[in-house]
Symmetry: C2
Subunit: 364 residues, 2 copies
Amino acid sequence: MTEEEGHMMHALELAQRGSYLASPNPLVGCVIVKNAKVIGRGWHKKPGTEHAEINALSDVRRKFGTNASEILKGSELYVNLEPCSQKGRTPPCCKSIIKSGIKKIFIASKDPMQKGLEELATNNIEVNLGLLQDKAEELNKGFFSRLNKGRPMITCKLAISMDGGIGLKNGESKWISSLESRSDVHDMRARSDAILTGSGTILKDNPRLTVRLLDKNVSSYSQPLRCVVDSGLKITGNENIFSDNLKTIIFCNSAKKEINTPSNIEIIEKPDKDGLVSLVEVCKYLGKTEINYLLVESGPRLVGALLKEKLIDEFILFIAPKLMGKEKLNFARIERSMNNINLKIQSIDEIGGDIKLLARPQYN
Amino acid sequence: MTEEEGHMMHALELAQRGSYLASPNPLVGCVIVKNAKVIGRGWHKKPGTEHAEINALSDVRRKFGTNASEILKGSELYVNLEPCSQKGRTPPCCKSIIKSGIKKIFIASKDPMQKGLEELATNNIEVNLGLLQDKAEELNKGFFSRLNKGRPMITCKLAISMDGGIGLKNGESKWISSLESRSDVHDMRARSDAILTGSGTILKDNPRLTVRLLDKNVSSYSQPLRCVVDSGLKITGNENIFSDNLKTIIFCNSAKKEINTPSNIEIIEKPDKDGLVSLVEVCKYLGKTEINYLLVESGPRLVGALLKEKLIDEFILFIAPKLMGKEKLNFARIERSMNNINLKIQSIDEIGGDIKLLARPQYN
């Protein structure tokens, strides 16, 4: 690893401190370096608070007091995302960087909404783009998906047996995976902005779809928005998701039917021509409402329908060491025309006696 | 790791040099140590040749010539299996050890067929049993299975999709797993004494079931005995397994039907009361004929029937990153009464883009 890569890795690590709370903003970390030594570090904590670059500059000023301006002159800044050029909830970072005396800036990835590169370059700052770009794009894949595709990054989580079952046809075997795996799912929920499921799952399993089992030392997070695909509005209003005050959206084909909905429940029509819900429109809607990460926790029908629309970016499979046999329910209802979907394995881990597998579909 | 464990590990590593050829004998390695220094090493190569202990003693004599007797006095011997007390194809090892002047012997695991421990102890040798016993039993699990259970260690190899399919119902998709995975299967075949399959697989896929794709630097090995379960003798005699001169056994319920069988094919009746083949009797028969390791490569029917009889000790699953969908064939025909067989994961590896998983069923 070169010295420059080391500093960018440092910035990427700092960025991750914003996990759980930064969304819909991206995770951003920043390191300021003078004569190969780190003189300031910062990261973005949550929307409405200062950006990483401003926090790093403040860190330098806090450490060096009245000498800070002198020390900043000719220094280098490493940041994983292009600094903002427009005023958002906070003043634009580019202006502060230009004023600071920093002479060189390393940026891992562009921000499609900003023109920071041009602004910095025209103000005599040497700009270097693309250092550890892959890692930077991976870190904010949900943010980039929303900006580039107009929809969130969609991860489908499934707990399956070794022969691909999610349960038995008679409804038995509620928990397939281990407690550790289930706790990991709650961590995934806490990192997601929204959870998507189908009315079948709500009616059959009656889940709460909230973050509860957090194992790690996570002090604060937001409960994800719950989204239910319920074409014909089969939900009664008595399910667990109605029993708390957390926000839920029910997507239906037509909202003519009257449901007694408490104020935390919103009903939205996203019809397709077959009397069902248009999943493409649901995902676009969620993109517009600044959802970066959507976690799918559903039955085989919705998983199959999402795959058909190429809407699953990533599977996280918890494979439990069990065989369910011929009475099992398959995890995805995949039509004959879609046979043989190839995936690419990203990582394999062991967790509580289960296998945790991350794999991405390779659509044609 | 203690010094003694280090020497036993060394013996276990030497033992593995007998892989591919030692069977039906166990893999045995031996290290002789004097004043904490290794003075001799040996391992068993193949049936009819010297045992590991004799090879290690010869190694000392070769190295130290006329001083060997003096040096061996008061030395220690490490061996992973109890030395033989009875004359087999070669003279008993215990006698040679006793004569050599060795004063202390570390044995990892007992050999149920021998009385070496008693013979050594009554001849003034300090005997220490059980050092790294688990590793020693794992190394020779097929040998111990045959002696203790009267049948080989049975490993079922399957190449499956991520949703548990072994192919499509219409017969498509011959190769599920990668070339590297398939080459690994040929290595497994070379390490096995016999391969078991069903007539369905022979008739449908017409495999040769021989070792061909060996990737590694394996200079010599034996082709495994091929065994086919064919209750009603559906095999015609024109299949690939009839086309070479390698030995094959066809197990049937009744051999009344005439088949034109070349001399490499043996037909054996192992009837059960339902007009099928008794798998328990097949496995007993293979145990009696000194098969230590049986590799199952078959379709869902035989896998299911073996599971029902608790005859599968281990699954090796090559999980390819593909989804096959609802037209897939499940890998095991498991009846409702056997639902939810639990397995224990032994290891997870990545091979050629596939997952290689070793898991052992935990029968009730």
